[in-house]
């Protein structure tokens, strides 16, 4: 116990009580019955709020009273939102009320939400199968919210961290109050007219429960269902799920979470880019060597097929010559000699053709080999292409005077074949 010389003044006690009560007590909804309602000429309204066991004195200041829609009538059952405060002059505790809702209306609102939910359900709008996947790499995200709130800022914060390349198109709309449903519907109807938008986040920051009304509005829910692009709802309420949440393609608890769902993770994408880069070069090499192997196989098969045919032809000529009757030999000596000469000429001719063809294939194979790791151009190989990018393989591909491009290790050279 404190000593007498340390005794507090009454006003100090009153002030400390006031500070404690007012600083430590958050705004709270209280349900009770209105009793002893008095309206003063100043515009302030005084009354009591009570239930079976207790009562508290309440104040509604003039500024609040002027905008309240619920009539303050004796005996009415209400929900009242307020904070306790201490009137220093009498150290009297007062509940300062800022919002009043008739208890019956609150019940009616809940019933109304249930009715709308049944209607949406009947139309199949709550069917999970309707939910669309989000785009993997969104380019432009529309954000429907109040620009006065923190939603846009929250989303930007997440975007800068996760996926800075995003573009946000903000469509301003009231998210609470009487105008909210109409403005939200108008904003949703704007979506199809915005070019390149592939995702929409509709939402608001946290707030009191009755402020969710716009997100339980039937027209808003139907506009969400009708959207041509996927919609994430972010109504900013961990506990209450609104009808908009049920209709949307995805529900996020907060706008920040909506952005997390919507945007790919930068570091993951960096990893993806690195892995694609690592795969690309070996894939090219593999593709080119597959091509080369096929060419070589074709070359070998063609060579043996041609030799086979040549041998068959040779046998036939020899057989025909020896089958000729002896008496005719005189008549056929010259033709026979001719056949022999032709046969003798045929072989080198075909061999020459095969050799030429093989040389072409070898050249192609060599070129492929030179290209296969592109870097090997550095060994001194060059590739010639015409102005349409076709590879020039044979001398006949080079038309006299025609320009072509030589690709060497560090770039290309424009060249032209001599006209002579």
């Amino acid at each position: 116990m404190s000593g007498l010389d340390e005794a507090w003044s009454v006003s100090r006690l009153a002030r400390v009580l006031k500070d404690r009560v007012e600083s430590e007590f958050p705004a709270t909804w209280v349900k009770g019955e209105l009793v002893g309602v008095k309206r003063y000429p100043s515009g302030h309204v005084y009354f009591g709020l009570r239930d079976e066991l207790a009562k508290i004195d309440c104040t509604i200041w003039r500024s609040v009273a002027a905008r309240l829609k619920t009539p303050i009538t004796e005996g009415a059952e209400v929900f009242a939102l307020g904070t306790p405060s201490v009137w220093e002059e009498r150290s009297a505790l007062r509940f300062n009320i800022v919002q009043v809702l008739p208890a019956s209306a609150v019940g009616a609102a809940a019933q109304n939400v249930e009715r709308i939910k049944q209607a949406l359900l009947a139309d199949g709008l709550l069917d999970p199968a309707r939910k669309r996947p989000l785009p993997a790499y969104p380019r432009r995200i529309a954000v429907i919210t109040s620009v006065a709130g923190a939603v846009v800022r929250d989303i930007i914060t997440v975007a800068r961290r996760r996926w800075p390349a995003i573009e946000l198109l903000v469509i301003n709309a009231a998210v609470q109050g009487d105008h909210a449903p109409g403005e939200l519907v108008a904003a949703l109807e704007t979506l199809p007219r915005l070019p390149g938008v592939d995702l929409c986040i509709i939402g608001r920051g946290g707030g009191a429960k009755e402020d969710l009304a716009a997100f339980n509005d039937e027209a808003v829910c139907r506009a969400i269902a009708a959207s041509p692009i996927p919609i994430i709802s972010a109504v900013g309420h961990e506990v209450d799920v609104t009808l908009a949440d049920l209709v949307a393609d995805l529900r996020a608890a907060t706008p920040s979470q909506a952005a997390e769902f919507a945007l790919p993770e930068h570091t993951e994408i960096t990893r993806l880019v690195s892995s694609l880069e690592a795969r690309m070069r070996p894939a090219l090499h593999a593709s080119l060597s597959r091509r080369r192997e096929r060419l070589e196989r074709t070359r070998d098969r063609m060579a043996s097929a041609l030799l086979q045919r040549l041998r068959t032809a040779e046998r036939r000529v020899l057989a025909a010559a020896s089958a000729l009757p002896a008496g005719l030999e005189r008549h056929v000596r010259r033709p026979r000699e001719r056949v022999a000469t032709l046969a003798a000429r045929l072989e080198p001719a075909i061999t020459r053709r095969i050799t030429r063809y093989l040389a072409t294939l070898d050249r192609d194979a060599a070129k492929l080999h030179a290209l296969s790791p592109l870097a090997v151009l550095g060994r001194g190989y060059a590739m010639a292409t015409d102005d349409e990018g076709h590879v020039l393989r044979r001398t006949s591909d080079f038309r006299p005077g025609a320009p072509f491009t030589l690709r060497v290790s560090d770039g290309t050279i424009s060249a032209r074949r001599d006209t002579t």
């Binding site: 390349a165 573009e167 915005l194 994408i269 960096t270 880019v273 795969r279 894939a283 090219l284 080119l288």
Partner: protein, 76 residues
């Protein structure tokens, strides 16, 4: 307005290029051509990842003028 390929477009195309190089027996010209395209897209993708800036615009509806939609920069 946004006809330029985006990072997403680049990544999708890059995956396709690598898949084709890995799977198909492409003609030489085509293999080289898509490889070169891939190198270019890799370069832009990396650049985009490095210095992308989040752009924020507000959509304004002009109800007086036949409900025209305009975009205006919004300070984030």
């Amino acid at each position: 307005m946004t006809t330029q390929p985006t990072l997403g477009d680049d990544l999708k195309r890059l995956e396709e290029i690598v898949r084709r190089l890995e799977a198909d027996d492409l003609p030489i010209e085509e293999a080289l051509q898509i490889f070169e395209e891939g190198v270019g897209r890799l370069r832009t993708a990396k650049a985009r990842l490095a210095d992308a800036e989040t752009r924020v615009q507000q959509v304004l509806r002009d109800t007086a003028e036949d409900d025209v939609v305009r975009l205006e920069p919004l300070d984030g």
